[in-house]
């Protein structure tokens, strides 16, 4: 298992896997299968995938603990950056086709529409995380501070869930499901922290492994 997790090929394969939703959209675009409303289709798809990648990123630590596989951390940064990539496409679609880059219209939307406000907040919080995702930045910030900063991802993900929940008209199954997964992943952390608090001198959690 360790061998597989350590292999550079595993990482490359995962990279390609993370691109599958993009390839899927491109392929649908070329074959004219983006529905009668392609802009909306791409917005929804990239929004979904950004949220999914955030949740996958958040599940790395619990999985690592449960299965005692510290090497899983190797993939966390890439997963998080894919969440950022999909949210960027999501934003670009919105700015281009929904608002035509009209700053007043965008401003009005952000301040007037709660689901846009919370979505924007989540997206802005992802920005410092993407910027400080490199090993050099971890060193510059120091692991403790870096880790504190990157706890923002809990709130980014929650913002994404609320953004989705406030958008749907009546069928809340999907946002409710994502919200449930988020709550489970947070519950795991709360338990982890409280247990750590009672135990003396636990092993420090690895922030980033050299890859």
């Amino acid at each position: 298992m360790k061998k597989i997790l350590f292999s550079p090929w595993t990482k490359r394969a995962l990279f390609v896997l993370c691109l599958v939703p993009t390839l899927f959209l491109l392929w649908r675009g070329f074959t004219g299968n983006l529905s009668a409303n392609p802009v909306e289709f791409i917005e929804h798809s990239t929004g979904d995938w950004s949220l999914r990648f955030l949740l996958i990123t958040l599940s790395v630590t619990p999985l690592r603990k449960i299965f005692d596989q510290p090497l899983l951390t190797r993939f966390r940064r890439m997963l998080g950056l894919f969440a950022f990539f999909y949210v960027c496409v999501h934003l670009l679609m919105y700015l281009t086709f929904d608002q035509m880059f009209d700053p007043m219209a965008i401003y009005a939307d952000v301040v007037k529409r709660p689901y846009i406000t919370v979505g924007t907040a989540g997206l802005l919080m992802m920005l410092p995380l993407a910027v400080t995702s490199t090993a050099a930045m971890v060193r510059r910030l120091g692991p403790k501070r870096w880790q504190w900063l990157h706890r923002l991802v809990y709130f980014c993900t929650l913002a994404g869930v609320i953004h989705y929940y406030w958008l749907v008209k009546s069928d809340i199954r999907e946002p409710a499901m994502y919200g449930g997964i988020w709550a489970l992943l947070m519950l795991f952390r709360v338990r982890m922290w409280t247990q750590k608090g009672s135990a003396t001198k636990s092993r420090p959690t690895p922030v980033a492994l050299k890859t």
Binding site: A36, N37, K169, S170
Partner: protein
């Protein structure tokens, strides 16, 4: 990559029917060959051509959307809440035999079967703009006649003020009903003068054919100056009343959906702007028109009514 191929051939007088049909077959065959594993083939159109349809003067001077746009991008929550779902799932609906029970405050209550509906008045083709509350729009050639024709046959009593409509609700034909997240059966309503307005269409078809199931077969309402959800689908019951009838989306969320729900770019949905809309087939948004562009015909219905209050 993002640009969807525009419909190069549209249904129109000048396009021979055969060509039009072949284009769809060609596209269907192509997409089946290319992507059978990703996109389930959309439900086949009812495909039954309607004879003796007369052209109507109710015709907007705008480019019509394609048949695919109108029949693969639908809101019909009884068959799934995603736009593509009704086209895939509505094949469980049985539009024949069908009956509409018309009663309430009328002198001649009557039950119409589908045959009677089809023959009640000359069928017209009307090209209307259709604006969804979700800020997208489409131009569709509907087939039907003014609802007034039917209402006159039952002779409304003088105290009738409203018309209530009800969609079929059958758990067997609508196995996904539990996912809708709205109370069923779907109900809608109009003021009697709105219902009697010549623009209010009782529709049995589109693009020269009987309504496909996902579009509300076999009989639906089309009220072009109101948001699309007022156009109740698969109608089984019409009742005249003297009280404001309950309407499904208003019952679901009164702050967001009013009884009137006239298209109004100056009254936003609490969660999004109604000032602009995306016409299906276009990438950028366009300005939404007051009463969806039907101000000349319908504004007089609302003189003295505060449209911000009665949204």
């Amino acid at each position: 990559m993002l640009i969807r191929k525009p419909a190069d051939l549209r249904y129109s007088d000048v396009t021979p029917r055969q060509l039009y049909v072949n284009r769809r077959r060609f596209l269907a065959a192509g997409s089946a060959a290319l992507g059978a594993w990703t996109l389930p083939t959309p439900a086949k159109a009812a495909g039954v051509k309607i004879a003796n349809v007369v052209k109507s003067n109710y015709k907007v001077d705008e480019k019509m959307n394609s048949y695919e746009d109108a029949t693969t991008y639908n809101n019909y929550y009884e068959f799934g809440t995603d736009k593509a779902e009704p086209a895939r799932n509505a094949n469980t609906l049985k539009p024949s035999p069908w009956q509409i029970v018309v009663g309430g405050l009328v002198n001649k209550p009557k039950t119409f079967d589908l045959d009677a509906i089809m023959k009640l008045a000359p069928l017209e083709e009307r090209v209307y703009r259709h604006r969804c509350v979700e800020a997208w729009s489409i131009v569709v050639p509907w087939i039907g006649y003014s609802l007034a024709n039917l209402l006159k046959q039952v002779d409304p009593k003088s105290n009738a003020k409203y018309v209530a409509f009800e969609t079929l609700f059958d758990r067997k034909q609508m196995p996904l009903w539990g996912r809708a997240g709205i109370e069923l059966p779907y109900v809608e309503g109009l003021r009697l003068d709105e219902a009697m307005h010549p623009l209010t269409l009782l529709s049995v078809g589109l693009y020269g054919e009987m309504l496909p199931n996902q579009n509300g077969a076999p009989v639906r309402l089309v009220v072009p100056w109101k948001y699309g959800f007022k156009g109740i689908k698969s109608i089984v019951k019409i009742t005249l009343t003297d009280e404001l009838p309950p309407t499904t989306w208003h019952a679901t969320n009164a702050r967001e959906y009013g009884f009137y729900s006239n298209v109004n770019p100056t009254v936003d949905h609490p969660r999004w702007s109604q000032g602009t809309e995306r016409r299906l087939g276009e990438l950028f948004k366009r300005k939404t028109l007051m009463f969806n562009g039907y101000t000349d015909q319908v504004a007089s219905l609302y003189t003295g009514l505060d449209l911000k209050k009665f949204y």
